[in-house]
Symmetry: C2
Subunit: 135 residues, 2 copies
DNA sequence: ATCCAGATGCAAATGGTTTGCATCTGGATA
DNA sequence: TATCCAGATGCAAACCATTTGCATCTGGAT
């Protein structure tokens, strides 16, 4: 069960381990993929108020427990924050797969130079395609 | 003036060159950066109905005249579709700068293999940082 | 067992985007 | 150039994800 793991994580993030937070975090850990607020509502059997889910996800994000992913225009997705990675999305069925790749350092340095920004902190990289089932 | 250029582009896209479309496309060409629906409303002196802007942008997108950029959670941005490129956004002031870089082919091939998708059609790559003015 | 700052639930408000419908117009045709 | 109509526009209402105000509840410290 991920409830104990979730509780531990909440404690180390200095957050009160409420029923709702444990449930949400455990769900995010269990599913291990980006979920929408609706998804989270369904997977927790609508036992949580929508506003609570939004507020909780925001809190989690601030503490680095989850990461927000913008794959979908229209609604936000959140995933348990493990290692930095990227995704590929099937434009037909919406399936999301994790990718174990990242940008080469050379490209990141190139951006630092070309942008003339003082800092380059992060990047979003998402791929879109058609999965085998949807060909 | 970009109006004639816009009219030409509309014609070759087989779209009726209405006053509104010419105005919108000319504005997108002139600004040469991602604009929100609100931005477009202001820059056209609120002479266009919001619904018209949304519908027109959707039409333009289908015809490949504009590209939608998701930099901002909350509202969509659209830019005149020139060459494929990416952006860097200042997380303090919101300034967007074009980047003349793209993913190395090797990485794209890596994604093709690792994803096991039938096709990989496109990617979104955005950088976030702090520009010199905002340090 | 008590207590209270912070968390939750509920409902209403917000803001971007979409849609139904009556009217208008670009541009093809005669 | 005048006519015509499919498609475009304007307006207002509807939608939907997200946020917010506020009264009540609760985790965990005392």
């Amino acid at each position: 069960m991920n409830a104990t793991r979730a509780t531990e994580l909440l404690r180390s993030a200095e957050l009160r381990a409420t029923t709702q937070r444990v449930l949400l975090l455990a769900t995010l850990i269990a599913e291990a993929k980006p979920l929408s607020v609706d998804d989270l509502g369904l997977r927790t059997k609508n036992s949580l108020d929508t506003a609570t889910i939004y507020r909780t996800l925001e809190t989690f994000k601030e503490k680095g427990l989850v990461r927000r992913v913008d794959l979908d225009q229209g609604r936000a997705l959140y995933e348990h924050a493990g290692e930095h990675h990227h995704h590929i999305v099937c434009t037909k069925c919406g399936t999301i797969r994790d990718l174990d790749i990242c940008l080469p350092k050379t490209l990141q340095n190139q951006v630092r130079e070309e942008s003339r920004f003082a800092h380059v902190n992060q990047h979003a990289l998402e791929f879109f395609g058609v999965c085998k089932k949807c060909v």
